[in-house]
């Protein structure tokens, strides 16, 4: 069997899945790191569903976080006012997100690029401000509380047998639920983009008119992408916040949205997996960069940084980067955009998944010129031959 690069990809996928499953053990069941892992997965779902919208269909929506919040608020209100059980509310919330996504998706149909971005920003901000202002209905800035899921007994027992440390801390069930959702959402989106809709998504992104001329239902395609990605965002939001217990409107700030976008772009917004991995990578590095452990000898020379917004903690032996870690991240975002427009991770995946080598443009151009030199005469000759006006071809 001939070795193909795609095997590396499969091996890496398997490795990643195993890593995903064993992660809580790898971090020694430390609740903090399990929580970080769970949050990273939450962001990964958001980033990859955003990439489904932006990367695959070319709709640059800034309302993704708003949809996340919309779903969560809907679920929370269903539980609070309608007496839904958490799992029923989850379904209800996702459906409501879908309906609103459908409406916004239709409204956005006629808007392109920057207009779409502006419109979705407006929608997101209006939604956030209304949620914040309608204190009686949404809890306002206090946020809305959501109860945790309770698993049915049999499932709990089953999970305990599979995962012996299921009860080691409260975040383990949360983590595994999130991981399950992550795999399911990614698998769903992956299958979706591999299906005909995926082809249609990208065809519409590339050239709407041409796609329409080939019979692609442009409206349905664009709206479908909008609805699916909003629903996934809503789903992730509902599940995440059920475990966190509270959603606050500040979660839907544009600043948070830009974090998601940055994650997707750095990972590669043309690729679901790239965006997801980007989100995981960035969330972990941000968490780690918050305090960088350094030897005291080094730290002593860094004390001047205290005047620049860092905090050098000699006692704990760490350099706290505070805002500056975000600066580095912003710079990375800009450089990625400028020099690696496909992101940092997805080109690797693409390279591993590619089946045939690319003929470079320069090579082909040369070939075309060679072709000219050789059979220019021939070409004209044959053309003249074919071009006998007396004999119309039939």
């Amino acid at each position: 069997m001939k070795f193909r690069r795609i095997y590396i990809l499969w091996a890496l996928t398997a490795l990643f899945l195993v890593g995903l499953i064993f992660y809580p053990r790898l971090v020694n069941l430390q609740p903090y790191w399990v929580l970080v892992g769970m949050t990273a997965l939450f962001y990964a779902i958001l980033a990859s569903s955003w990439s489904l919208l932006a990367g695959y269909t070319g709709q640059f929506s800034f309302a993704h976080m708003a949809f996340m919040g919309l779903g969560t608020y809907a679920a929370g209100i269903l539980i609070r006012d309608m007496g839904f059980a958490p799992w029923q509310a989850t379904i209800g919330g996702v459906l409501i997100t879908g309906v609103v996504g459908l409406i916004i998706g239709y409204l956005c149909l006629r808007l392109r690029a920057v207009y779409l971005a502006l419109f979705t920003i407006a929608f997101a901000e209006i939604f956030r401000l209304v949620v914040k202002a309608e204190v009686k209905f949404t809890g306002g800035p206090n946020g809305l509380e959501l109860p945790t899921y309770t698993f049915p007994g049999w499932l709990q027992n089953l999970l305990r047998t599979i995962v012996p440390f299921w009860d080691a801390n409260v975040y383990i069930p949360a983590y595994y639920t999130m991981a399950f959702l992550f795999v399911a959402a990614l698998l769903f989106m992956f299958l979706l983009v591999r299906s005909r809709f995926g082809i249609f998504f990208r065809a519409v992104r590339e050239d709407e008119e041409a796609a329409a001329a080939l019979g692609v239902h442009v409206v349905n395609t664009r709206v479908l992408a909008f609805v699916v990605s909003s629903m996934i965002a809503g789903f992730a939001g509902i599940v995440f916040h059920h475990f966190i217990g509270l959603i606050v409107p500040d979660q839907m700030q544009i600043g948070r949205m830009s974090l998601i976008i940055a994650m997707a772009v750095i990972g590669g917004s043309q690729n679901l997996i790239g965006a997801a991995l980007g989100a995981i990578f960035i969330h972990f590095s941000l968490e780690w960069l918050q305090q960088i452990p350094l030897p005291t000898a080094v730290l002593q020379h860094l004390l001047f940084l205290n005047d620049w917004g860092f905090s050098v903690d000699l006692h704990a032996g760490v350099l706290r980067t505070n805002a500056w870690r975000m600066v580095g991240f912003g710079l990375l975002l800009m450089l990625t955009l400028r020099f690696w427009q496909n992101g940092l991770i997805s080109p690797i995946i693409d390279w591993l998944a590619r089946r045939e080598a690319v003929e470079s443009v320069a090579q082909r151009f040369q070939a075309e010129r060679d072709m000219d030199a050789v059979d220019d005469v021939q070409a004209i000759g044959s053309q003249a031959e074919a071009g006998n006006p007396q004999e119309p071809t039939s």
Partner: protein, 250 residues
């Protein structure tokens, strides 16, 4: 193909105004059955506008377009495409960030949503082989040369299996060698019993290939008939070469 097996496109007195400008001033013609119709006219004559109206990208200000007994001018472009009118664009519009095979699958999946991917790919490969782009199947659209992109567009069209094909400048900017392939393509499609509207500025190919020529000028049909006749039509010559009696202008 329509139920009774014939193809019939009727353009009935189509008028199109852009603001104050009249692009089409009442164009009517009928194309019936398998036929290769050349559509020519000097720049600004309204050829592209007419194409866009037939394929639904533009709505006519007045007039109707009927295809196989169905009025299509109010329909959306994808609907018209599904009814069996396919077109290419003057400037190539390959999907640049999709592989050639995926480019082919898009219309294929429109036509046969539930066909297995393998079968569809096989079908696509056949067409690509005929158009000599099969070796590029995993190549990104943007990596193709201009000529190859034209071929890809034509190949895509076949996946849609349209009854009526509108080819807008298929030869522009294409290497002679590839031009021959396109000639072959047109002849093959013609052989399959489809109707073709060929728009080209390349007089040679137009006169060679078409059975019937429709000449547009200033949004009106100024001639309609076999190429030999149209070629000698004084109005056509005037449209292209200017009028002899304008000597006194200078």
């Amino acid at each position: 193909m329509s139920q009774n097996g014939t193809i019939r496109l009727e353009v009935r007195n189509v008028v199109k105004n852009f603001g104050g400008l009249q692009a089409l001033a009442g164009v009517s013609f009928t194309i019936e059955g398998p036929q290769l119709v050349g559509l020519i006219g000097p720049n600004g004559a309204g050829k592209t506008t007419l194409t866009n109206i037939i394929t639904g990208l533009l709505k006519p200000t007045k007039g109707e377009v009927w295809f196989n007994g169905r009025r299509i001018d109010p329909l959306r472009p994808y609907h018209i495409a599904r009814l069996g009118i396919g077109r290419t664009f003057q400037v190539t519009r390959a999907f640049r960030r999709m592989t050639v095979l995926e480019n082919m699958l898009a219309p294929g999946l429109v036509k046969h949503p539930y066909m297995s991917r393998k079968e569809l790919e096989k079908k696509a490969l056949e067409i690509m082989k005929f158009l000599t782009i099969d070796h590029l199947r995993y190549e990104m659209g943007s990596n193709l040369s201009g000529g190859q992109q034209k071929l890809l567009e034509l190949a895509r069209l076949l996946m849609l299996e349209p009854d009526l094909i509108i080819l807008d400048e298929p030869f522009a900017g294409v290497h002679p060698k590839l031009q021959r392939t396109i000639y072959g393509y047109i002849q093959r499609v013609r052989g399959e019993g489809k109707a073709i509207i060929l728009i080209s500025h390349d007089m040679e190919s137009i006169f060679t290939l078409s059975e019937r020529l429709i000449v547009l000028n200033f949004g009106e049909v100024i001639a309609d008939g076999p190429p030999e006749v149209v070629k000698e039509d004084p109005q056509v010559i005037e449209a292209y070469l200017g009028r002899d009696d304008e000597e006194d202008l200078i």
